[in-house]
C-alpha cells in the first residue's frame, strides 16, 4: 500500500515536473522543475529498492548539478530565447516551419510505436519478477562489486572526473571577456 503511494507520488512528481521543464517560460523555473523531477526519480529508485542510488541521485543532482545549472543560467543572463515561439502547440519541433513540424510528429509517432512494440515483445520473452515491498540493503554489496568486479571502471571514473575537472576548470577560468584573435581581426578592418 505504502509502496503504491510512494510510486504514484514519485511518478506524478517526475512526469509533472519534467513536462513543466518543457513547458515553462522562465529558465530558472525550468531548473527548479528539473530539481523536482530528479527528486521524483530518486523516489522511484527507492521503490525499486535502490536506496543507495536514490540517495546518490539526491546528493549529486540536488546538491551539485542543479546548483551548477542555476549558476550557469545566472551567468548567461537567464534570457529565454524561445519566449517568442514558446507555445504549447509548437512544443515538439519548434523549428519554425510546417515541414519540420510534420517530420517531428511523424518521427515521434513511429518512434513511440516501435518502442512500445519492442518493449511489449521484450516483456513477453523474459521472466519478469513481481514487485515486492522488501529489499536487501545494497550499499555493502555495491562496495564489494565496486572493488571486485567493477574495480577498473571505478578507478577509471576517477580519471574521468579528473579530466572533467581539469578541462572544465581551464574552460571556465575567468579571463578577458574577448579572446585575442578577435581584437586582432578588428584591428585589420
Amino acid at each position: 500500500m505504502f509502496l503504491n503511494l510512494l510510486f504514484l507520488t514519485s511518478a506524478l512528481l517526475t512526469v509533472g515536473c519534467s513536462v513543466a521543464v518543457l513547458a515553462v517560460k522562465n529558465l530558472m523555473h525550468a531548473c527548479v522543475f528539473l530539481l523536482g523531477a530528479l527528486i521524483g526519480i530518486a523516489g522511484l529508485y527507492a521503490t525499486l529498492g535502490a536506496d543507495f542510488v536514490a540517495v546518490t541521485q539526491i546528493m549529486v543532482y540536488v546538491g551539485g548539478v542543479v546548483i551548477l545549472m542555476l549558476f550557469a543560467v545566472m551567468l548567461t543572463g537567464g534570457k529565454d530565447h524561445v519566449s517568442k515561439t514558446q507555445k504549447l502547440k509548437s512544443l515538439i519541433p519548434a523549428m519554425g516551419n510546417k515541414t519540420s513540424y510534420l517530420i517531428g510528429c511523424l518521427t515521434a509517432l513511429v518512434f513511440f510505436l516501435t518502442q512500445g512494440y519492442l518493449v511489449s515483445k521484450l516483456l513477453g520473452s523474459i521472466e519478469v519478477q513481481k514487485q515486492v515491498d522488501t529489499f536487501s540493503p545494497t550499499v555493502q554489496e555495491l562496495g564489494e562489486l565496486l572493488i571486485t568486479n567493477h574495480v577498473l571502471p571505478f578507478e577509471l571514473s576517477s580519471v574521468l572526473l579528473l579530466g572533467a575537472l581539469v578541462g572544465a576548470a581551464i574552460i571556465a577560468r575567468p579571463r578577458k571577456a574577448r579572446p585575442q584573435y578577435e581584437e586582432e581581426a578588428e584591428e585589420h578592418h
Partner: protein, 726 residues
C-alpha cells in the same frame, strides 16, 4: 640474535639511501649532504657491529646467513638468484669496511672542507661504500661483478675528481681501462663457471668443486686447459686488475691524483682489497685448478718489485701507493702459499694501518700544501698527533713486534718458508718466499725513510714550515687517525702482545682470528648439507651452524695450504720466519736511521752503485712504456688499422656502395610509377572528395538541433529495422 632481512640489508641499504637522498639534496640542500652521508655509513656501522659481535662471539664454529630471492627466472635452465651471504669472514670484513669508511667519512668533512665539489665527493663516497658492502654481502659471482663495476665507476669518478687537471683525467681513464682488462677475464671466468655449474653462487661452486665438476678440460686457443684452471685464472686476472698486481699494477700509483680520503678508502683499504677478497672466496677453485704456485709467484714479484720502486719515490702519496701494491702482493703471496687465514688477516690489518697512513698523509699535505718529501722535514714539532699516529702505522707496516703488521705478515712469511722448505713440494716455492723476505727487508726501510724525511731532521724548506699551522686535537682531523692507530696494535688481532701466542692479553680472546676464519677447503663436504633461506624468513644462530672439522687436503686435487697436522714443521718454520723477519726489520730500520737521521751513509752512493737499476726504478720498470709503445702502438693499433681497412676499404666500398647502385635503379623505376600511376589515382580521389564535399557540406549546418533530429531519425529507423526486418 635473530636474522631477518631487516637487520642485514640496512648495512648495504643505508649508504645507498644516503646516496639516493643526496642525489636529490645536492642541488636543493647542499649543506645536508655530508651529514646524510656520514649518518648513512654510521647506521651501517651499527648494524655491522651487531652482526660481527654475534658472529665472533663463539669461536670454533662456522656460521652463515644466506638469504635469496629470485632475480629473474627464464625457466629451468636460466634462473638467477640474488641474495645475501654472510659467514665469519664476511662479518669481519663488514665490520672493517664500515668502521674504516665511517672514520674516513668523518675525516673527509675536515679535509674536503671548502672544496668546490664538496657535496659531490660525499655522493660518490656513499655510493662506493654501499657497493663495497654489497660486494661483501653478495652470495654469488654475478652480484659481486655488478658491485665490482659500480666500485670501478666510483673509483674512476674519484680519481678524476679534480678534472681541471689534465693528469687527473688521464689517470682516471688509465685506471678504468687497466682494471677493465682484468674485468673482462673475470666475466669470462663467471661464464665458464656458470656454464659448468649452472649457478654462480659460492656454495654451489664449492659443492661443484667437491663433486669434481671441474675435472673436464676445455679447448682454449688450441690448448687443452683444465676447466678449473681456466676459470680460476680468469677470476684471478680479475683480482690482478683490481688489486693492482703484476703485471696490471700500473694504474694504482696514478690513482693518487684523487683526493686523499678517497685514496685511503678506495685505493688502500677497501676496493683494492676486494680483489684479494674475491680470490679468498674462490680459493677452492684456485686449489682445484692447481694455481697456487702461479699466484704465489705473482704475489712475490709484486711485493718485491713495488717495494723497490717505493724506495726512490719522493712524493709522499706515491710511496704509500707503492707500499699498498707491495702489501697487496703479500696478501696474494699468502693465498699462493695456502695461508688463507693469514692472507685475510693481513687484508684486515693492512686496511686499518694503510687507511691511517693515508689519512695522516692527507693531514700533512693539507697542512703544508705540498706532497714532495724533500720540501718537508721536522714537521713533528708542528703535527704532534699526526706524527704519533703515523709512527704507529709505520711500525705496523714494517712488521715490528707488538704491532699488527708483525702478526699478519709474519704468518704469511712463515707459511711461505714452510711451503718452500718443509712441504715437500720441491723448490717451486723458494722464489716467492725469497722475494717475500727481500720485500720484508725493503718495507721498513722505505717507510722509515718516508717518516724521517717528513717529520724528522731540520725543515728543508723554511717557508713551507713557517706557513704550516700548528695542530690541535680536532674531532674530524686527528681523532679518526688516533682511533685507527690504536687498532694497529697486534693484540686486537692475535690476542697476544707479540703475536707468538705466548702472552695472553686480557681483552681479546687468544687467537680468535685464527680459529674463526677457516679455509673452505678444510672441509668442503660440509657445504653439501647446506640450505638456502628465502627472503622474509627468520634465522637464528642455532639452526645455521656448520661443524668445523679437521683438515683433509687429500680431497683436493692441488696443494691447499700448510697441513696443520704437521705441527712440528709448521712450528719450526714459523719460529725461523719470526726470528728472520725480526732481524731483517731491525737491520732495515737501522740502515734507514743511519742514512736519513745520522747521515753516516750517503744514499747517493747507493744510487751511483746501482745507477742502471735506479734508472729502471725511476721509470717504474718501463711498464707504461711497454704497454703504450709495444702493446698498444705496435699491436692493438695495427690490429685496429686492419679492422678499419676492412670496414672502410672493403665493406664500405663494395657492399654499401653496391647497394647504393641497386637502390638508385629501383628508385628510378618507382619514381616513374609514382609520377604516372599513383599521382593520377590520388588526383582522382581528390576529384571524388571535392564532389562529395559539395554534397555533404549542405548537411553540416552547424546547428545542434538539426544534428539531433538526424540522430533521432536514424535511431527511429534503426528501431524499425530491428523490430520489423531482423
Amino acid at each position: 640474535m635473530e636474522y631477518t632481512i631487516a637487520n642485514v640489508a640496512p648495512i648495504f641499504l643505508a649508504p645507498f639511501f644516503a646516496f639516493a637522498l643526496n642525489c636529490l639534496l645536492i642541488k636543493k640542500a647542499p649543506k645536508l649532504v655530508d651529514k646524510v652521508s656520514v649518518l648513512g655509513i654510521l647506521v651501517a656501522f651499527v648494524f655491522a657491529i651487531r652482526i660481527a659481535v654475534d658472529f665472533t662471539g663463539v669461536a670454533n664454529t662456522d656460521y652463515y646467513i644466506h638469504k635469496v630471492f629470485t632475480w629473474f627466472d627464464l625457466g629451468e635452465t636460466f634462473k638467477i638468484d640474488m641474495g645475501i651471504y654472510i659467514d665469519n669472514m664476511g662479518a669481519i670484513m663488514l665490520l672493517m669496511v664500515t668502521g674504516v669508511a665511517s672514520l674516513i667519512h668523518i675525516f673527509s668533512t675536515w679535509y674536503m672542507k671548502g672544496d668546490v665539489r664538496y657535496e659531490r665527493f660525499f655522493l660518490y663516497m656513499s655510493l662506493f661504500t654501499s657497493a663495497m658492502l654489497g660486494l661483501v654481502l653478495s652470495d654469488n659471482l654475478l652480484s659481486v661483478f655488478i658491485f665490482w663495476e659500480i666500485m670501478g665507476f666510483c673509483s674512476y669518478s674519484l680519481i678524476g675528481f679534480y678534472f681541471e687537471k689534465e693528469k687527473a683525467g688521464y689517470a682516471s681513464i688509465k685506471a678504468f681501462m687497466t682494471t677493465r682488462v682484468g674485468d673482462v677475464f673475470f666475466l669470462l671466468g663467471i661464464l665458464a663457471i656458470w656454464h659448468t655449474v649452472g649457478s654462480v653462487d659460492f656454495v654451489s661452486i664449492y659443492n661443484a668443486v667437491q663433486a669434481g665438476a671441474f675435472g673436464t678440460t676445455v679447448s682454449f686457443l688450441g690448448m687443452e686447459v683444465g676447466l678449473a684452471a681456466f676459470a680460476g685464472v680468469c677470476i684471478f686476472l680479475g683480482t690482478i686488475g683490481k688489486s693492482a698486481q703484476f703485471p696490471l699494477q700500473v694504474w694504482l700509483p696514478d690513482a693518487m691524483m684523487g683526493p686523499t680520503p678517497c685514496s685511503a678508502l678506495i685505493h688502500a683499504a677497501t676496493m683494492v682489497a676486494a680483489g684479494v677478497y674475491l680470490s679468498l672466496r674462490m680459493y677452492p677453485m684456485m686449489v682445484a685448478g692447481d694455481l697456487l704456485n702461479l699466484i704465489a709467484m705473482i704475489g712475490g714479484i709484486t711485493a718485491f718489485g713495488a717495494a723497490t720502486i717505493a724506495m726512490i719515490q719522493t712524493d709522499l702519496k706515491a710511496v704509500l701507493a707503492y707500499s699498498t701494491i707491495s702489501q697487496l702482493g703479500y696478501m696474494v703471496l699468502g693465498i699462493g702459499v695456502g695461508s688463507y687465514n693469514a692472507a685475510f688477516m693481513h687484508l684486515i690489518t693492512h686496511a686499518v694501518f694503510k687507511a691511517c697512513l693515508f689519512l695522516s698523509a692527507g693531514s700533512v699535505i693539507h697542512t703544508v700544501h705540498t706532497q714532495e718529501m724533500p720540501e718537508m722535514g721536522g714537521l713533528r714539532h708542528k703535527m704532534k698527533w699526526t706524527w704519533i699516529a703515523m709512527w704507529c702505522c709505520t711500525l705496523a707496516i714494517a712488521g715490528v713486534p707488538i704491532f699488527s703488521g708483525f702478526v699478519s705478515k709474519d704468518r704469511i712469511l712463515g707459511d711461505a718458508l714452510y711451503t718452500a722448505l718443509h712441504a715437500g713440494l720441491g723448490y717451486k716455492y723458494a722464489v716467492p718466499a725469497l722475494l717475500g723476505f727481500l720485500g720484508a727487508f725493503l718495507t721498513p726501510f722505505y717507510m722509515c725513510r718516508m717518516m724521517f724525511l717528513t717529520f724528522h731532521g731540520k725543515p728543508r724548506d723554511q717557508h713551507i714550515y713557517d706557513h704550516a699551522h700548528s695542530e690541535h686535537l680536532k674531532l674530524n682531523q686527528n681523532v679518526p687517525l688516533l682511533i685507527l692507530s690504536v687498532f694497529t696494535l697486534g693484540m686486537f688481532f692475535s690476542g697476544s702482545l707479540t703475536g707468538l701466542g705466548k702472552i695472553p692479553a686480557p681483552v681479546v680472546p687468544t687467537e680468535w682470528f685464527k680459529t674463526l676464519v677457516d679455509s673452505p677447503t678444510n672441509n668442503l663436504e660440509r657445504f653439501s648439507t647446506y640450505t638456502k633461506q628465502q627472503f622474509g624468513s627468520v634465522d637464528t644462530r642455532e639452526n645455521r651452524v656448520l661443524e668445523k672439522t679437521v683438515y683433509d687436503s687429500e680431497a683436493m686435487t692441488g696443494y691447499a695450504g700448510p697441513n696443520p697436522d704437521n705441527k712440528d714443521g709448521l712450528h719450526h718454520a714459523h719460529v725461523e720466519g719470526a726470528i728472520a723477519s725480526v732481524v731483517i726489520v731491525a737491520c732495515s730500520i737501522f740502515l734507514a736511521f743511519l742514512m736519513y737521521i745520522r747521515g753516516t751513509i750517503d744514499p747517493g752512493k747507493f744510487v751511483k752503485m746501482f745507477s742502471g737499476w735506479v734508472t729502471a726504478l725511476k721509470n717504474k720498470y718501463y711498464f707504461d712504456e711497454i704497454y703504450i709503445d709495444v702493446i698498444i702502438q705496435k699491436g692493438l693499433l695495427k690490429f685496429n688499422n686492419f679492422l678499419a681497412y676492412v670496414d672502410m676499404g672493403l665493406y664500405d666500398r663494395y657492399a654499401i656502395d653496391g647497394w647504393e647502385k641497386v637502390s638508385r635503379t629501383l628508385y628510378r623505376a618507382s619514381r616513374w610509377f609514382d609520377d604516372n600511376v599513383v599521382d593520377n589515382t590520388v588526383d582522382a580521389f581528390g576529384v571524388l572528395a571535392k564532389t562529395g564535399h559539395a554534397v555533404l557540406r549542405g548537411l553540416q549546418s552547424g546547428l545542434i538541433q538539426i544534428y539531433f533530429i538526424v540522430l533521432i531519425i536514424a535511431l527511429a529507423i534503426m528501431t524499425v529495422w530491428i523490430n520489423f526486418i531482423v
